[in-house]
Symmetry: C2
Subunit: 299 residues, 2 copies
């Protein structure tokens, strides 16, 4: 498989996302300074910006200008960051490290971390409906995209998945339950990131459908690879301890079907993601590279 440097390849877009996250972030001042600093700490803790990039690239592929959805994409990253902050809390996954740095509640404290997450979720919807975002896209499509994201991260999406993930700790599970958890906890937001970009970029029904399929399979592969990395990954590269899933008795693919079969499943999902792109021509190349990149993390 071809060598692909995500950060290098999407440099311009990643930089634009970083800039947007800085430019539109509330000032760290006043009596609530601490919570804004905590949120900034986590937003700038070294995330790859995969989800906002998916949104921008998807917008571009259907013929839109990716610069027109920068605030929307930045909002998606705020949601992703909020979910990580809350996942790491002592009452949840109780992780002290994230991307090699103390997690938010360790660097600050629990109350501040809860509030930082809450504020980041609100900030996402503020970005989505910010006048600078609104004037650049169709209002009908903007509302649809917000609806997609809101559903993807709620009880029937990310929050539901996280709940099931916690409830299944130490329980006997099967691949049906695990797929449900992965789909809700991780896949739906990744899928919604791709779909929102396609909607905002003016994509037609067929384009949106193809990209929905791409997003779903990519998201599944992403989570399967995440499970794998927790077993075979490099602690330094990951910035967190490996083996934590096993320690917490999390339901994962390696624990259910073994490493070899898990690798196969990841490969199958990536193949499906790439085949969903057949509707597009060479303009979908960035998404193909990205799919291979997700898989290559485990090689």
């Amino acid at each position: 498989m071809e060598k692909f440097n995500f950060t290098e390849y999407f440099k311009e877009k990643i930089e634009a996302v970083e800039e947007t996250l800085i430019q539109f972030f509330p000032e760290s001042e006043g009596y609530a300074k601490r919570v804004i600093e905590a949120a900034k700490y986590s937003v700038h803790a070294g995330g790859k910006r995969l989800r906002p990039i998916l949104c921008l690239v998807s917008c571009e592929i259907v013929g839109g200008d990716w610069r027109d959805v920068l605030l929307f994409a930045a909002g998606i990253e705020c949601i992703h960051t909020y979910s990580l902050i809350h996942d790491d809390l002592p009452a949840m996954d109780d992780d002290d490290f994230r991307r090699g740095k103390p997690s938010c509640h360790k660097a600050f404290d629990e109350a501040t971390a809860i509030l930082a997450g809450d504020g980041l979720q609100a900030l996402a919807f503020e970005f989505f409906t910010h006048p600078s975002q609104v004037k650049r896209v169709s209002k009908t499509r903007l509302i649809k995209a917000i609806y997609k994201i809101a559903k993807a991260i709620g009880f029937e999406g990310m929050v539901g998945g996280q709940m099931a993930d916690l409830l299944m700790e130490g329980q006997e599970g099967n691949t049906k339950i695990l797929k449900w958890i992965h789909t809700h906890k991780t896949v739906k937001l990744i899928e919604a990131s791709v779909v929102s970009g396609a909607l905002l970029g003016g994509g037609d029904v067929k384009q949106v459908k193809a990209l929905t399929s791409y997003g779903r399979h990519l998201g599944l592969a992403f989570q399967i690879v995440d499970d794998l990395l927790d077993v075979i990954g490099d602690e330094k590269k990951l910035g967190k301890r490996v083996g934590s899933d096993q320690k917490k008795q999390k339901l994962t693919y390696p624990s259910l079907v073994g490493l070899e079969k898990t690798r196969q499943l990841a490969e199958e999902s990536i193949k499906r993601a790439i085949s969903a792109l057949s509707y597009f021509g060479s303009e979908a190349e960035p998404l193909r590279l990205l799919a291979n990149f997700v898989l290559n993390r485990v090689y």
Copy 2:
């Protein structure tokens, strides 16, 4: 002052809000059942529905049909409920009771309560952009209303206020800081509830301005009265222990300026709220009654 039964007077609207919250709430089923049940538990724990009522009445006063903003109003109640669930968490205000019932993390557990709050915030934005809501109002105004709410509950609103409130525990404060905390923690969402109703109902600039002023002063009075009730209130009626602010060394008006002066400040705010309604005629009567009701809680 006239006798006013909030629940009786707004019976039809309150019932419609309750019905909307039931009809559009996700089903308690599947692997994430627990978190949806926890959210439902708190949503139906006996709240007065003040904020959604403010939204509905405000919509009506500017000439809109309150039935057209029911989902929006129900979404505001989801946000309010999420904020109460998170406020009660051990890491935050650590309250075991809310409205006479065990708070969410006591009835369920901490992780479930964190997730229930997170999911309710997402659900609010799902309601705001739900197809059944979208088709009933102007899209431009809907996006503006969502933006207002998102700003009101984020770092520069409710979340910031809650952070400052926690940071000021046991600290020496003054009325300037306290007003900042109250404004951010409580007032901005109440104000945004009124303003969103006015925007969605088709209110013009002058109407929205007058109702913004009403909402701000009503919100201030509401929080001042809340401070008072924690000192002089009836535990049975409140459904929670009185004296908890003092125990936690919270910054409150009674602690800073005494009971008599606090009463005066509440009365002044209510007067200002009512005088902001002078722009309207008798159609603003429900908001006048509501303002007096907020004050009468302490008599």
